[in-house]
Amino acid sequence: MASDSIDVRYVAKLARLALTDDEVAGYGAQLGDLLSHVGVLSKLDTASVAATAQVVESRNVARDDVAGVCLDRAEVLAGAPQAQGAFFRVPRIIAGVE
C-alpha cells in the first residue's frame, strides 16, 4: 500500500466540495500524512480474515408492510432553503452530470 499522493481535486469533485488552490495543497499534505500513518495496516496479515460487515450478529431485521403517518408538508417546506409552491426548488440541473 504505497503512500500515493492523492488527487485531491478529483476526490473533492466526487464529494462535491469546492476547494481553493491553497486548500487543495493543504489538505493534500494532511491527507498524505494520514495515509502514511494508515499504511501500517499493510503489516497485518488479513488474507484469511473476513471483513466485518456488522459488529452485531443480527440478520433479517425488517418491518411489516403497513403505511404510517407522514410529515406535514408545510412544516417540511418551511425548513427548505428554497420552496416553490408544493415543491423543493433547485438551480438548473445540467443533463448528464451526476
Binding site: M1, V11, Y27, V38, T52, V55, P81
Partner: protein, 491 residues
C-alpha cells in the same frame, strides 16, 4: 446549580418533595450565567422545558411512576429533539429545526426527564477537544484555559459544571469517554446496537452510540436502563431483552478478573500519570479483584483502522447536506455547483478532511486496499478482545493518555487523532465501555490539578457487569468528589 444526582432528584420529584418545575426554574439562571464562561450549551430550551416540567408534575400527581421525574438533562446537539434547533456544531445546520424527536431522547422524556438545552460539540462529532465546533467554544470547567474534550465536550462540561444532572453524548471512537475523563464525570458508551440511533445525526453508522454523562455510575445506569433496548426504527438496534443495570451495582470486586493490557502500558505516559493508573489498578485489587495481564496485539492498528472506516461511512452519511431540502444553501449557477459551494461554506476543515479521506478510501482502485483492509483489521481487533475476555471480566486502561490540554495545543490533525488511542479499539469491537474518574494530575506547565479517567470495557452486552464493577470502584475511591470544581467566574 444542580446539587443532587439524577437518582436523588427523581426521588424528590416523585415523592413531591419538590416539583419538576421548581427544579428547572431554579436551574436556568445558573445555567445562563455560568454558561457565559463555560459555553456548554448552544441553545436553551426554556419553553419546552417548562411545559414538559408541568406535564411531569401532573403525571406524578396522577400517580405515574417516572424513573427520571424532573431530572434536568442536556442533549448533545447531534440529537433530534422536535422543535429545537439541531446543529451538530456546524454552520450547515446552524438554523435547522428538527421536525421529529429521536428514540433515545424520547424515552428519557417519557420517563420524566426535562431537557435543559442542546450542547456544543465538535462539528458532526469529529474531534477530541470540542475545538472543531463552528458555533461556539466550550471550556473545561476545571480549567477554562483547557478543552473539555470531544466530541461531546458540551455535554461533559454541562454535567461537570452542574448545569444539568445528566447529559447525553455520542461516542464513535471515544467521544463520550475522553471528555468524561477530561471533565471529572462518568461517561458511558453502551454495546453497539443497545441504544437506538434513530434521531442521532450519523457520523459513522457502524460505530456511533448514544450514552450518558453523569456524576455517578448509578445515574448512568439509571439513564441506560431507560434508554436502551430494541427500536423498530433502527435496524441495527439489537432485538435482545435489555438486562437492567441500576439494581445490580456491586459493593466490592471479589471474584472479578481485571485485564490489564500489555500494549497499553502506562509507563509510557510519564511518571505522574503512570503512578496514577498504577494506584487505580491497585485500588481495584484492594476491592478483591484479581489483575490479569492480557494482550491486544492488534490494538496498535486501531487508529489506522478507525480513520479509514469512520471517514468512509461519514463521507456517505454527510452527502445529504447539499442545500436541497434543509440547512444552509449557497447558490451556484447549476445544482452541482450549488452543492459544492454549500458544502464548502457549511463544513469546517476537519469535516472536509474526513470526507476527503473517506471518499478516497472508497474510491475505485483504493476500496480494497483501504476500506476492505480496514474492515478486516477490525475483525482481528474484535478477535483479540474476545480472546482477552477469556481470561478476564473487564479490561482496565487509561481513557486518555493525558489530562485535558490547552486550547490550540494540538494543531496537527494526527496528534489529535492519537487522543483516541485507548478508546478506539473498543469502539471498533462494539464493546460497552466507560470512563470513571480516577484521580488528578498536574499537567505540564499547568497550575491546576486536572482529572483523569479510568476506562473499563466489558464483553458485548455485559453492561450489567461493567456498571456493577465501575460502581464499586467509584464508591470506594470517590475521586470525582475529591477534586474541587473551581468557582465559575461570571464574565
Amino acid at each position: 446549580m444542580v446539587n443532587e444526582t439524577a437518582v436523588a432528584i427523581a426521588r424528590s420529584v416523585s415523592t413531591r418533595k419538590t416539583s419538576a418545575r421548581e427544579t428547572i426554574d431554579a436551574l436556568y439562571p445558573y445555567v445562563e450565567s455560568s454558561d457565559k464562561t463555560i459555553g456548554s450549551y448552544l441553545s436553551l430550551t426554556h419553553e419546552l422545558a417548562r411545559s414538559l416540567a408541568d406535564k411531569v408534575d401532573a403525571r406524578v400527581k396522577a400517580g405515574e411512576s417516572l424513573p427520571l421525574a424532573g431530572v434536568p438533562i442536556a442533549v448533545k446537539d447531534n440529537m433530534c429533539l422536535r422543535g429545537t434547533v439541531t446543529t451538530c456544531g456546524s454552520k450547515i445546520l446552524e438554523n435547522w429545526v428538527s421536525p421529529y424527536t429521536g428514540t433515545a431522547v424520547q424515552r428519557l422524556l417519557d420517563a420524566g426527564a426535562i431537557p435543559v438545552g442542546k450542547t456544543n460539540m465538535d462539528e458532526f462529532a469529529m474531534g477530541s477537544s470540542c475545538e472543531n465546533s463552528a458555533l461556539g467554544i466550550t471550556r473545561n470547567p476545571y480549567d477554562i484555559g483547557r478543552v473539555p474534550g470531544g466530541s461531546s465536550g458540551g455535554s461533559a462540561a454541562a454535567v461537570a459544571a452542574r448545569q444539568a444532572a445528566l447529559s447525553l453524548g455520542s461516542d464513535t471512537g471515544g467521544s463520550i469517554r475522553e471528555p468524561a475523563a477530561f471533565c471529572n464525570v462518568v461517561g458511558f458508551k453502551p454495546t453497539y446496537g443497545r441504544v437506538s440511533r434513530y434521531g442521532l445525526i450519523a457520523f459513522a453508522s457502524s460505530l456511533d452510540q448514544i450514552g450518558p454523562f453523569s456524576q455517578t455510575v448509578e445515574d448512568a445506569a439509571l439513564c441506560y436502563d431507560v434508554m436502551g433496548g430494541f427500536d423498530p426504527m433502527d435496524a441495527t438496534s439489537v432485538d435482545r431483552p435489555l438486562e437492567t443495570t441500576a439494581g445490580h451495582l456491586r459493593a466490592d470486586l471479589r471474584g472479578v478478573r481485571i485485564g490489564i493490557v500489555k500494549e497499553f502500558a502506562t509507563s509510557e505516559l510519564g511518571s505522574t500519570v503512570d503512578a496514577l493508573y498504577k494506584k487505580a489498578y491497585a485500588d481495584l485489587e484492594k476491592l478483591g479483584a484479581t489483575l490479569v495481564e492480557v494482550e491486544l496485539p492488534t490494538a496498535e492498528f486501531g487508529i489506522a483502522t478507525y480513520y479509514l472506516i469512520a471517514p468512509a461511512e461519514c463521507s456517505a452519511n454527510l452527502a445529504r447536506f447539499d442545500g436541497v431540502r434543509y440547512g444552509l444553501r449557497v447558490d451556484g449557477s447549476n445544482v452541482q455547483e450549488m452543492y459544492e459551494n454549500t458544502r464548502a461554506a457549511g463544513f469546517g476543515p476537519e469535516v472536509k478532511r474526513r470526507i476527503l479521506i473517506g471518499t478516497y478510501a472508497l474510491s475505485s482502485g483504493y476500496y480494497d486496499a483501504y476500506y476492505v483492509k480496514a474492515q478486516k483489521a477490525r475483525t482481528l481487533i474484535a478477535r483479540d478482545f474476545a480472546k482477552a475476555f477469556e481470561s478476564c471480566d473487564v479490561i482496565a486502561s487509561p481513557a486518555a493518555s493525558t489530562p485535558a490540554f490547552s486550547f490550540n495545543a494540538k494543531s496537527d490533525p494526527y496528534s489529535m487523532y492519537l487522543m483516541d488511542y485507548y478508546t478506539i479499539p473498543g469502539s471498533l469491537a462494539g464493546l460497552p465501555s466507560l470512563s470513571v474518574p480516577c484521580g488528578s494530575v498536574f499537567p505540564e506547565g499547568g497550575s491546576r490539578a486536572m482529572p483523569m479517567g479510568l476506562q473499563l470495557s466489558s464483553p458485548l452486552f455485559a453492561e450489567r457487569s461493567l456498571l456493577g464493577i465501575a460502581h464499586a470502584y467509584e464508591r470506594a475511591t470517590l475521586h470525582a468528589e475529591k477534586l474541587a470544581l473551581p468557582q465559575i467566574a461570571s464574565v
